[in-house]
Each structure stands twice: as structure tokens, then as C-alpha cells.
């Protein structure tokens, strides 16, 4: 048991470290480091442009999408090298946020199901950040039940005509391409009538509308499709086999480990370390200490769970349910942490304006963003189901819609 690199790993780390030191946009490092849930922005620059420039620079030097094959814009690196890169990239890694969907989900799906010429054409600019991709699965009627989607794709000649609506599409407003899951046969049970495509987001008939979130920000979009045409050669996988294709996409999402999840603990500890309460320093108050300890061991537990997963990865083992655990624990924890930080501020905890609020409103922003963390990418309840079923081997929920043709499943609970 050790935290040491192997000689190979050490060499790789040294190379990465040196290149980052020479090339990273240092002027934003401090700002990126301090950003936390609810607000990653740069004061004096457009974060989208800074991110694209950094990604391009990485790609030109062979540091983009490290685990992808070289032919498609990657480096052919090992999983552990990818983790080392992430560790060294540090705060600059926050600039990759807008590429995560494309690199983590769309790219792998293209690699597994697209034609070779498409791969050579589309993947390198995706890796280099010149083109941004989004993922179009969720629908208003879907939610946790992804396969309940209703967006239709109908074949006309060599083309498919798409009509419907997607929701929760991160980055659709700045995306160039997207992968799209559609219903091609509503007369069969829901998992059996789906087909996957990729499409140009600039196609006629695609309309992107930002969703204003409860926090007041807009990280997500609705995307409307009106008679959008997609050529059949942009189909991914067989007709009506889209569910299996989407499982590849979602499985790849689970592969990205080691990035760490935001728990809010470091911020809270730091805050309490500097806070004076009426009776003395907050950090000397035993009720504060008890709460801090409670959160501390969750945060460290997640951190070391992630390290165990990285170790397993470096031995070639498949990742386990670490991501589900991380999301489940961190999601509700960051919400509690934010509430507690406001509590410690007393009545002034309501203030959220950067000039008047404690720490420029960091915890207030966290509080308002937190409800989303317990939902996005799978609700707490779905995460518990995943752990119960995939890890513990418990039976799946009873599926009343399993053998029912999709168009006969009820759509409204009360009449």
C-alpha cells in the first residue's frame, strides 16, 4: 500500500507537469481554484474561449483525450496516465467542463458505432475542442425513465425525419453536434423501439432554448425538433437497437473516475477556521466541531474511495460503483453543508450579493445550485437502485411497462 508512482508513471507525471507549467493559462489558476458549485466563471474573460484555447493547445501537443487512439485525436494513454494527467492539470481541469459530455459520452459512442470515415472526420476536432458535442436523451416525459422518450424518427427514403423535444441538454446552445436517441417504433415495448443518431446542431428545424434554473442560471437547454432531416448514414447502431447503443454511452460515463465530486467540505472547514462566533472562534465550538467531523469523514471517505478505484483501474480492473456512491453522498451533503454555512452566518446568511454576502456569496450560490446535484445524472433514488441492484444483486423494481407496447403505456397518473 503506497501512494508512489511506478517509474513509468513518474516519468509520465514529470512530462505532464513540465508541459502544464510551460503552457497552462496561469493567469486564471487562482480564480479557477476558488470557484465552487454554482458558479464557474471568469471575471475578465469569456470562459468558453479560454477553455477552447486550452483544449486546442493540449490537443496540438498530444494531451487531449488521453485514452483515445491517436488516430482519432487522442494519445493512446493508459487509464492511470489519464488520472495522473487530471491530478497534474488540477484547477485547469475545470476548463474541461464543457467538453465532458462530448469526450466522455459522445466520442466513445461514435467510436463504437459510427462508420470509419465519420470517426476520422468528426473525432479529432471533438478531441481538440474545436467542435463541441452534446447528448440528446432526456425528455420532459422521460426523466429517470430515459427509455420513456417520445421524440419520433420516421424513415423517408435515405433520411430520417425527426420531430419532438429534448430537455436538460447541457451546452446545446454552443454545441456543433449531438447524439440523439429517438423512437422509431412505438408499437413495441419501450426499450425495443429506439434508434440512435448523430446530427449537426445547425440543421434546419433544430431550435435551442435555454432553461432558467431554480438557481437563476442557465446551464441547460430545451431542444425542439421540427421536421429535422438526418441522413441514414448518421445512424449509430441498428434500427430499433438504440437502447443498447445508449447503454454504451452511459457506461462510458461511469468510466470517468478520479475527477472527484464537490462535497463543500473544504470550503466549510476553511470558513469555520476563520469564523469568530460570539463566544470565540467557531472552530473551538464543540457543536461546530462535531458537525465538521461528520462531514470530514464523508469527504475523506469519498476521496479514498476514489483512490482505491484508481488503483484498481491501474491494475486493469473495471471501475465499480464509485461514481454512484460519490454522487449520492456528495449531492445531499453539499446541500446540508451550504445550509449549515448560512446558519453559522446568522441572519446575514440570507444575503447573496457578491459585495454584501460573506465570502462573496459562495455558500448562498452553493445552496441554490445544490438541489440540482441530487437530480442531474440520476436522482439519489436511482443511485440507490443502481447500488442495490448492480452491487448487492437485489432484484430490480417490478416493471409494469415491460411487455407493454409503448403507445399503450399510460401517460398521466390521475385523470
Amino acid at each position: 500500500m503506497n501512494f508512489d508512482d511506478t517509474p513509468q508513471e513518474a516519468a509520465f507525471r514529470a512530462e505532464a507537469k513540465a508541459w502544464i507549467a510551460a503552457n497552462a493559462p496561469k493567469q486564471y489558476e487562482e480564480e479557477l481554484r476558488k470557484s465552487s458549485l454554482g458558479r464557474t466563471q471568469l471575471k475578465d474573460a469569456n470562459i468558453l474561449e479560454v477553455a477552447k484555447a486550452w483544449q486546442k493547445k493540449k490537443a496540438d501537443a498530444g494531451w487531449a483525450c488521453l485514452h483515445w487512439p491517436k488516430d482519432y485525436g487522442g494519445r493512446g494513454a493508459s487509464p492511470i496516465e489519464r488520472v495522473i494527467w487530471q491530478q497534474e492539470e488540477g484547477a485547469f481541469g475545470k476548463l474541461s467542463a464543457m467538453f465532458i459530455i462530448g469526450h466522455g459520452m459522445c466520442g466513445p459512442t461514435m467510436m463504437a458505432f459510427a462508420r470509419e470515415e465519420h470517426k476520422r472526420h468528426y473525432l479529432p476536432p471533438l478531441a481538440s475542442g474545436e467542435k463541441i458535442w452534446c447528448q440528446l436523451f432526456s425528455e420532459p416525459a422521460g426523466g429517470s425513465d430515459v427509455a420513456g422518450l417520445r421524440t419520433r424518427a420516421e424513415k423517408k427514403g435515405d433520411e430520417w425525419i425527426i420531430n419532438g423535444q429534448k430537455i436538460w441538454t447541457s451546452g446545446a446552445h454552443y454545441s456543433d453536434y449531438g447524439i440523439l436517441l429517438t423512437r422509431t417504433d412505438p408499437t413495441v415495448p419501450k426499450h425495443k423501439g429506439l434508434t440512435m443518431f448523430f446530427l449537426d446542431m445547425k440543421s434546419p428545424g433544430v431550435e435551442v432554448r435555454p432553461i432558467k434554473q431554480a438557481s437563476g442560471q442557465s446551464d441547460f437547454n430545451e431542444v425542439y425538433f421540427t421536421d429535422v432531416k438526418i441522413p441514414d448514414h448518421q445512424r449509430l447502431g441498428e434500427v430499433n437497437d438504440g437502447w443498447n447503443v445508449s447503454l454504451t454511452t452511459l457506461m462510458n460515463e461511469r468510466m470517468s473516475i478520479g475527477a472527484g465530486v464537490a462535497t463543500g467540505f473544504p470550503e466549510l472547514f476553511d470558513f469555520c477556521n476563520n469564523l469568530m462566533l460570539e463566544d470565540g472562534p467557531a472552530i473551538e465550538d464543540r457543536s461546530v466541531r462535531s458537525r465538521l467531523a461528520h462531514y470530514a469523514v464523508k469527504a475523506s471517505g469519498l476521496k479514498y474511495t476514489s483512490m482505491r478505484a484508481i488503483s484498481a483501474l491501474s491494475k486493469g480492473e473495471r471501475p465499480g460503483p464509485e461514481n454512484s456512491i460519490g454522487k449520492l453522498v456528495a449531492g445531499s451533503m453539499i446541500q446540508e453543508v451550504a445550509m449549515y454555512a448560512l446558519d453559522l452566518q446568522g441572519a446575514a446568511g440570507v444575503l447573496s450579493g457578491p459585495e454584501d454576502a460573506e465570502l462573496a456569496g459562495k455558500f448562498q450560490a452553493m445552496l441554490l445550485r445544490a438541489p440540482g446535484t441530487r437530480v442531474e445524472g440520476g436522482t439519489d433514488e436511482i443511485m440507490r437502485n443502481i447500488i442495490a441492484e448492480r452491487v448487492l444483486g437485489l432484484p430490480g423494481d417490478i416493471r409494469v411497462d415491460k411487455d407493454v407496447p409503448f403507445n399503450q403505456i399510460p401517460t398521466k397518473g390521475r385523470v
Binding site: G143, M339, A348, V350, L351, G353, L368, P371, V375, R414
Partner: protein, 375 residues
């Protein structure tokens, strides 16, 4: 024993609910949320006309003279509807302070205006972060003039007058604090609106520079009055919180009945059912603690300090719990600006802090129970 509101009080609740459902639908709340108005003036006027603003103000001062139990049932409905008006600052804080400590002339000057909706009042207590404490008050009063800054002051930007806590002694003990009445439209008062997590209820910074002020209550008795005002307001605000918690629970329940996933209403999944059951439990415990608080408030019982703290804690927990899990039951839709869930979440977290935080009241509750136990 009749540990319940009377039929007349319940009838008043029904009236208030009906009135608010018509005059204060979510759309009206959003007008203030979106910054299109500082508060809902029409609603404020309507509440005055209904007699709700002065329900606990004696008739001789222009009120209905009904009492605090009646005010509790109205408070619950205000919380349910998220009414975007300065009700809690004017009615729970300013009016209560006046009724407790005001001279006849002071009551005569302000209470009728409160009851009629002509005057908005507030309590200017806090000076930056921290909980209620005489030590934290630095604003000074001398020769009837105030100097210093208060923040956050609820509804401070729209208030006509404020009850201001000032230091009149040297150390910061209870006896060093006195209260003053200040006309906020007069010279020497600078008002700055502050952004806060619940834009449907404003917060402000008030800076006093040789601002003219008249004493409210005797010099050196300010802290005792504040403590009483906070206890009374704690019970009333707890009813608002319970109203909000109940509504959040209903929204979650309704959505769970209507929303289909995996071919069945999501409310048929135990995970969702049990979230909602736990919300019901916390809302029920809070309501029961609030009823005890209402009894203590309405009878001026010796148990009020303890009852107020229990109601405040329990209602804060319930509203936060129900508001956040209402979003969870709604899933992604609950996290959109378009759905109303976040308005309850914002209000729940804002009301959790307004009179002092949960930790503060927890500490106070045990302090009070301990003293009672020792007595």
C-alpha cells in the same frame, strides 16, 4: 381541553386562504421575485381591507382586537401563499414591539397606520453576521440621535419606520441596549437594497448619521423587549413556515400522483412514497409544536420562551425538509425557474435565518429548559 383553533378561527383561516388564492397566486409572487416590484402593493392594501394587518392590534388603536390565535392562522396562510409583502416585519416585529413597549402616543401614531396598510415597519437589529446578542450591537444613540449601520434589515428599503436597537451603555450587556423609533423617511437615514436568496422578501442596509430617534420603552430595557419580540415573532413566523411546508408537501404529493415513469405514477414507488411520508411527519410535528407556541403566545404563558424556541426549531426544520424534498420528488422539473418549487426552497432557507439561526434557537431552547428545570 381543546388543543385546537376554534371554529371561528378556522373560518378566518378559510377566508384568508380563499383571499390569498385569488389575490396572491404564484404569478403575483413572481412579479416581486423577478424584481418588477419591491412588494405587492395591491395585496398589501387588500390585506388591510380584510382586516388581517391589524387582527391582533387592539380596537382602540385601529385594529380588530381579535388576538394572536387569529394572527397565527393568518400567518400560516401567508406562508402557504408566499405572500410577497412586508407582513412579518411590520406585524410580527414592529407592531409587537410597539404593543409591548410603546407609549400611548407612539401606539396611537403607528398602530392605526399599520392596521390600515399606510405604514410599513420593521426591526433593525442585526449589524452584519451573527445571531441576536447585545454584544453585537455597536450602533450608538446619544441625545436622541443614532449613528451606525444595520444590516440586514427585513423590508428595510420599503419601511416607513423602524424600531432600532442601539447601544446606550458602554459594555454590551443586556442593560446597555435601548430601543428607538425612527422615521426612515427623515434626514440622516441612508437606505441600500441588498440582494438576498429570497427576492420575494427584501433585505436592506440602513445607515444612520445623526438620525433623529425617539426612545421606545425605558433606557436600558431594550434587550428585554427584543427578547420578548423575538419570541413572539418566532411563533408567528413558525406558522408561516408550517404553511409553506404543508404547501410544499402538497405540491410533491400532487406531482407524485400525476407524473408517470416506468409506466406507473412515481408516487407508487416506495422511495418516493417514503420521502413524502417523512415530509408529512416533520410537518405534523412542527404543526403540533406551533400549536403549543400559539397557546403560550395567546395566553402570555410563562412557557412562552420555551414554546417559542421549540416551534421555531421544529418549523424551520420542517420547512427546509419539505421544500428541498419537494424539489427532489419533482426531479429535474423541480429545479427549473418555471416550476414554483424553488420559491418555497428560497423562502424556507431565508425564514430559517431571519430571527436568528437554527443553532441559535437550539441553544436557546436547552438554556430555557434547563432554567425551568433548575427552578
Amino acid at each position: 381541553m381543546n388543543f385546537d383553533f376554534s371554529d371561528e378561527q378556522k373560518q378566518m383561516r378559510d377566508e384568508a386562504r380563499k383571499f390569498l388564492s385569488e389575490q396572491c397566486p404564484p404569478k403575483a409572487v413572481r412579479t416581486v421575485l423577478d424584481g418588477k416590484a419591491a412588494y405587492d402593493k395591491d395585496l398589501w392594501k387588500g390585506l388591510a381591507e380584510m382586516g388581517f394587518l391589524g387582527v391582533a392590534i387592539p380596537e382602540q388603536f385601529g385594529g380588530a382586537g381579535a388576538g394572536h390565535l387569529e394572527l397565527c392562522v393568518i400567518a400560516e396562510e401567508m406562508g402557504r401563499a408566499l405572500a410577497p409583502v412586508p407582513f412579518s416585519s411590520t406585524v410580527y416585529l414592529a407592531a409587537e414591539a410597539l404593543m409591548l413597549a410603546g407609549s400611548d402616543a407612539q401606539k396611537q401614531k403607528w398602530l392605526p397606520k399599520i392596521a390600515s396598510g399606510e405604514a410599513i415597519g420593521t426591526l433593525a437589529l442585526f449589524e452584519g453576521k451573527g445571531n441576536p446578542s447585545p454584544k453585537a450591537i455597536k450602533l450608538t444613540a446619544s441625545s436622541g440621535a443614532l449613528n451606525g449601520t444595520k444590516k440586514p434589515v427585513p423590508d428595510g428599503a420599503i419601511a416607513d419606520f423602524a424600531v432600532v436597537a442601539a447601544r446606550t451603555g458602554s459594555i454590551g450587556r443586556d442593560a446597555d441596549i435601548s430601543l428607538f423609533l425612527v422615521d426612515l423617511k427623515a434626514n440622516g437615514v441612508e437606505v441600500k437594497d441588498l440582494t438576498n436568496i429570497d427576492p420575494t422578501r427584501g433585505q436592506a442596509e440602513l445607515t444612520f448619521t445623526n438620525a433623529k430617534a425617539e426612545p421606545l420603552g425605558a433606557t436600558g430595557e431594550g434587550w428585554g423587549i427584543i427578547t420578548q419580540v423575538l419570541d413572539r415573532a418566532a411563533v408567528l413566523l413558525a406558522f408561516e413556515q408550517v404553511g409553506g411546508a404543508d404547501r410544499a408537501l402538497e405540491m410533491g404529493r400532487d406531482y407524485a400522483l400525476d407524473r408517470i415513469a416506468f409506466g406507473r405514477p412515481i408516487g407508487s414507488f416506495q422511495a418516493v412514497k417514503h420521502i413524502l411520508a417523512d415530509m408529512y411527519v416533520s410537518a405534523t410535528l412542527a404543526r403540533s409544536n406551533c400549536y403549543y407556541g400559539a397557546w403560550a403566545l395567546s395566553t402570555n404563558a410563562a412557557e412562552l420562551p420555551e414554546a417559542a424556541a421549540a416551534a421555531r426549531i421544529s418549523a424551520t426544520q420542517a420547512f427546509q425538509h419539505c421544500a428541498k424534498n419537494n424539489i427532489q420528488v419533482h426531479g429535474g422539473m423541480g429545479f427549473t425557474w418555471e416550476f414554483d418549487c424553488h420559491m418555497y426552497y428560497r423562502r424556507a432557507n431565508a425564514t430559517a435565518l431571519g430571527l436568528g439561526s437554527l443553532s441559535y434557537w437550539e441553544d436557546a431552547l436547552i438554556d430555557r429548559m434547563r432554567k425551568k428545570n433548575a427552578a
